[in-house]
Symmetry: C2
Subunit: 255 residues, 2 copies
């Protein structure tokens, strides 16, 4: 099932540990790939600190600009986990105990362990729908077009698995790719631009690579949803490489 | 040499290949770590597509908000390499051939290879100062408080090495860290918040980890520039862990 116009998405990474360089983010690539396969392209990513005013303002801005906003990080039990309260403020709704989450979390804890910090994890914006996940009790949720997920990749992925069927399926972006060793971007730029001009509806990119054995080359990739145009561009890219005296190979080079 | 107030930085990643999930960004972590060591904390990161209007608007916004803006990507010779022209537009200056870069690039090329696409790489905003790099002819440059760098990590790093002495050295953020196996965030949240409240000038974070052998625990990290406060917080974190019945260990766990 496809529709004419695909929805768009933005990702908001909330966490001082990414901005300080302590942690390498890997959630953006995961989400971008999975959302792209659903036909929901990611148009923007922001990384911001655990600062309430910044989180509130950015959620308001991005959720107005894109069809979906996915946030990662800041939903644990500690003092710097303020995403949930900030999302409530961005929506102008109370941040209040969520009865079902309270029951689930209390049942999960040993007697006496359901302390104030853990009860805070079951406090959600009014109207939020929890995102269940199979690997933890971390309280992800959806409210309106905002999906609030964990920062820990294993938990975030489990949440996305649960969320995915709710997002719908649209016309995913497809790609054709050709590559060639000993090809240089500077030599092919002009021909590539001509092919791009002939097919403005597709997105052409060139990606220099270096193989483990030191061989260098360029991969040419076209993305879009018009299969006839993709096929035509594939052939044009192949011919361009031949014209430049290199040997085209189907697809992208192995990583 | 240190100064009282450190400058701030933002990173702007320009590239469809990051937003599509094709490429895992690794430049943000590198830049955040190196800038942090200089005492220039990164406050925001954005990832945006190769769309001229978006690049121009974002450069204008971020360079006004932060002391330094570092961009990565979009400076090669192909049609989608539009960063340089967009930065010129953001500064309201002409985008014109840069005589020194033209000479260098032409000297580097074999006769007849200095085509229009390659001449485009030596076209810079008026007033730009090239950032030399030891590994390529990619045309990085600084204009005002904006530093335009390559997206290819190896080239970006060489450019940053060249740029670093120009940025100055300020009071770098320092950290203390303690960790303990079998510690849970939900159990320590309350004590951690008390310590944070006692030292509002520091930034306290807790980071759950899982070791390769499956053991789980939490690392507690305090960051700041007040050494006496850092020492006091270190001792308070150590005591908190002991109080909770776990065994504190100095530093963060090995990755």
């Amino acid at each position: 099932m496809t529709t004419a116009s695909s929805p768009t998405a933005a990702i908001l990474v909330i966490g001082n540990e990414i901005l300080s360089g302590r942690t390498q983010d890997v959630n953006v690539q995961f989400l971008a790939t999975r959302l792209g396969a659903l036909g929901i392209p990611v148009r923007e990513v922001r990384v911001i600190p655990d600062v309430a005013r910044t989180i509130v303002d950015t959620v308001i801005e991005l959720r107005a600009r894109y069809d979906h906003l996915f946030t990662t990080g800041g939903i644990g039990p500690t003092h710097d986990d303020i995403t949930s309260a900030c999302v409530a403020e961005a929506f102008g709704v109370p941040w209040e105990p969520h009865p079902e989450s309270m029951r689930l979390l209390e049942a999960y804890m040993a007697p006496g362990e359901f302390n104030a910090a853990r009860q805070r994890m079951a406090t959600l914006p009014r109207g939020a729908v929890p995102i269940p996940n199979s690997v933890s009790v971390a309280p992800g949720f959806t409210i309106g077009n905002v999906h609030v997920m964990a920062g820990v990749p294993r938990i975030m992925r489990a949440m996305f698995d649960a969320l995915e069927p709710e997002l719908g399926r649209f016309d995913p972006v497809r790609q054709v790719a050709v590559h060639a060793d000993r090809l240089l971007e500077g030599a092919l730029a002009e021909g590539l631009e001509r092919i791009q001009d002939d097919h403005p509806g597709l997105e052409l990119g060139s990606y220099p690579y270096e193989r483990p054995d030191g061989r260098r080359g360029v991969a040419l990739v076209a993305k879009g949803t018009d299969d006839a145009a993709l096929a035509a561009v594939h052939d044009a890219l192949w011919s361009l490489i031949v014209t430049l005296g290199a040997t085209p190979v189907e697809g992208e080079p192995p990583p």
